[in-house]
Symmetry: C2
Subunit: 485 residues, 2 copies
């Protein structure tokens, strides 16, 4: 049983982790408080900080905290009294003996238009099982044993060919490391960079885009390095500012900046590589949706500019499913052995069945077919989003949709009778069962919300996640919301 | 291109990692040198330390180094000249551009009797595919998306039931964490213990058994804590000495000490739990082969003595296959949230397809059948080993075979015309294509080879790894070796 002081220290990390599981900010906060009040973490009677203080601590909108408090008071977990603030209610539920069960994250979300997740209905069950069967039948006897920490040679060979052909990546099987999703690759790289920089002396920070995924920033900092933000504009990250960032490495999303959707300008690509060459720095290229470009030929991987200075990172999380945990890094030669050793120490190797199955799927052409099928599917959804917004909310500017699974809706400002602030829209959407996010919720904490590097009020909506039927209805709700209904 | 001084620093870690992939000590050393000489790590002309100096640096037998040098000189990688020592030969092979490809680890081993790996022919291909198909068909739509970092609830539920029924583990689904094999669980636990102890102040060491797997010790130290050895005798680890070890936690193999095969005595179990309670310490129970006991009822998990002080760790690596990377931890309540956060930061979650398939296999009874089938198979092999040794080398004492997949052969000492030293036997076996290991190769570096805690000369042979035909022929070779042929 802890006081707020003890428990609250970890709340920031706890929220990052919940958001990594797909919760919106307010839902994450509500769940964290609910668990703490229901379980053993916060004693009945514990006094919570005011919504103003907690909002400042967490760097989030006060309104979000106030609404979370109100929701939990309505549910009976908290007690709010005028003058005495908010306290944990006096009812002992599930105390001790077992950890509390978290609420299902999407319980209240009927239409999930949050970015970052694919349509799982596209996962090719039958093809995957068939590929697994064929791969198992032809694999050598020891394939299911312990093997190279970098992963099975069958998949490294197939991926080297595929990435070269489709994304222009310059690599070979010896330089590929297969990881448990992109997250593990980022974690191992961050730890390696931190160790090289001399972790005992504090290390150098890793530069990240000023708008990006907080869970990825959390992965980096958990592995050692601090993060510093690089401003983002319509040409992508301001890599021209790398020299003054003090960073030893930079994480970029060149093909489709997440979440703004910008394509990194060729001059910015060159600037990043030049910086890396001059300073001995490293560029990490997160190619999270590089295969999903609609309106022209896919832009090749930046890694090809200098394979010894750029680590290419990809995964099957968008093309197949995140739950497969299939990620890969194309490494500079100098990083192969250190990263192999880190992978060995972290978990020995990744699971081989998925590796063998994906290798077989790539070799047989099934993976190309799957990517084409998914691209067509998402392109159609994107067109529906664009059409709906043109009709229902013509004053909203839609950007970032020449590629990927999400769009950025720039809200008009200063219009008479215009839309309310983004945070209000998000909360209003949530109450209608519609999940979406404010662009501001992706902002790096060191980028001031009212400073020169802050981006204008916008919503980020993903069109990958919902099943088809919910997608159509979700769009209707979105149209109503933006149309002022 | 590095000097020996730079490259040699990492050789110890490199060897550990290669041994983790199943190489014998000499083979690991040969491979490391071969890669360095073939690749960019050691320049032609680089002078290597003498076999005496390198052997002392690495804490291994001088003979092993000398034979590795001789082998690589025979292959043309090294040059040995009387008076000027051993240098890297002047031939530029595969220089630059790509990392060198390691030799296949088992190229020279026709009969692999090294411990620690199961017979992969037992993996139930058809049943596994069928379970995957059924699991995919009945899984909720979002199962393949991002979910709880602890792993799928289906498998946590099935495992909580199974572990309680078969191993007497006291846990529930909320306290189970699914990891990428046992190795990841050990790594995350070690990091958590290190952080709790105050890593900035150096932390407390983790006590391990004086004889055990070097790769596991490497996983622990890579995550932070140093290791200190606990002596091992016929009653298992000397947990009565924990109080004076200075350790904050201890890693034990209570059901079947690896590699001696001892069963941890009830008094020793109680001593470990008492120590943990009194000092706030933690016991990690590595139940790596707890389901494979032959001569009487399986011994229940030690975790049941105090689920808040003992972490139970298991995996499907012996019962199914290591390549599945299916491991699990049954955690004390206080460790659930910190470990969930560490898992989230390490790789988000483990792959869900294997989780769903194993859950289905357990629920359907297929997993029980698989374990029974494997137990019968290994028991027959064990009986063949015992019969062979009784006939061909009656002076060799066989221990540790009432359970598990390996045996310890205590070599007679002082016999006239007796067997040569264990290291010589291992090298001689290797030359005949037979892989086995000296008990001494499992010794903790802080346990003196000639001190009071050193165990008598013995061989460790595994009877899990080879396919059936190679197993029979391997036994013949073993019989010849021990029979003095």
């Amino acid at each position: 049983m802890n006081s707020w002081a003890t428990w609250g220290q970890d709340l920031h990390l706890d929220l990052s982790e919940r958001r990594a599981r797909g919760l919106g900010l307010r839902a994450a906060l509500e769940d964290a408080l609910r668990e703490a009040a229901a379980g053993a973490s916060l004693a009945p009677g514990t006094r919570l900080p005011s919504s103003r203080v907690l909002a400042a601590d967490l760097g989030i909108a006060r309104n979000t905290v106030a609404e979370a408090y109100a929701q939990l008071a309505a549910e009976g977990w908290l007690t709010s009294r005028q003058g005495s603030g908010t306290t944990v209610a006096d009812r002992a539920v599930r105390r001790g003996g077992s950890a509390p069960a978290p609420r299902s994250p999407d319980a209240a979300l009927r239409y999930d238009l949050r970015a970052g997740r694919p349509d799982l209905d596209l996962f090719p069950h039958a093809e995957w099982l068939a590929a697994t069967r064929r791969a198992l039948a032809s694999a050598p006897r020891d394939a299911l044993g312990y093997s190279d920490p970098r992963g099975r040679i069958e998949l490294r060979q197939a991926l080297a060919d595929y990435l070269g052909r489709v994304r222009g990546v310059r690599t070979d099987p010896e330089r590929l490391l297969l990881t448990s999703g992109y997250a593990q690759g980022l974690s191992l790289l961050s730890a390696e960079l931190h160790a090289r920089d001399g972790s005992a002396r504090g290390g150098r920070p890793l530069a990240v885009e000023a708008y990006g995924l907080a869970p990825h920033r959390a992965v980096i900092t958990a592995a050692g390095p601090a993060t510093v933000p690089l401003p983002v504009d319509e040409d992508g990250a301001r890599t021209d500012l790398l020299a003054r960032s003090g960073a030893g490495a930079v994480l970029l999303t060149p093909a489709h900046q997440f979440p703004t959707g910008a394509l990194l300008h060729p001059a910015r690509r060159a600037a990043a590589v030049d910086w890396a060459r001059e300073t001995g720095g490293l560029v990490i290229e997160d190619d999270y949706d590089g295969e999903f470009r609609y309106d022209r030929q896919a832009v090749g991987a930046m890694q090809a500019l200098d394979p010894e200075r750029v680590v290419y990172a990809g995964s099957a999380s968008k093309s197949l499913a995140p739950g497969l945990r299939l990620g890969w890094l194309a490494l500079p030669v100098a990083l192969v052995e250190p990263m192999r050793a880190r992978k060995a120490a972290a978990d020995g190797q990744s699971g081989v069945l998925e590796q063998l199955a994906l290798a077989e799927l790539i070799r047989s052409g099934g993976y190309d077919r799957q990517v084409r099928r998914a691209r067509l599917h998402y392109r159609r959804r994107r067109d529906r989003v664009a059409a709906l917004l043109a009709e229902r909310a013509p004053e909203v500017r839609v950007t970032g949709i020449s590629a990927g699974l999400h769009a950025v809706l720039r809200l008009p400002d200063g219009l008479p009778g215009g839309l309310p602030a983004e945070e209000v829209l998000v909360e209003r959407a949530y109450r209608r069962g519609l999940g979406l996010e404010a662009l501001d919720s992706f902002r790096h904490p060191l980028t001031a919300p009212d400073g020169p590097d802050a981006l204008p009020p916008s919503l980020v909506i993903g069109f990958g996640t919902p099943p088809d039927r919910a997608f159509g209805r979700g769009l209707e709700v979105l149209g109503g919301l933006l149309g002022g209904e």
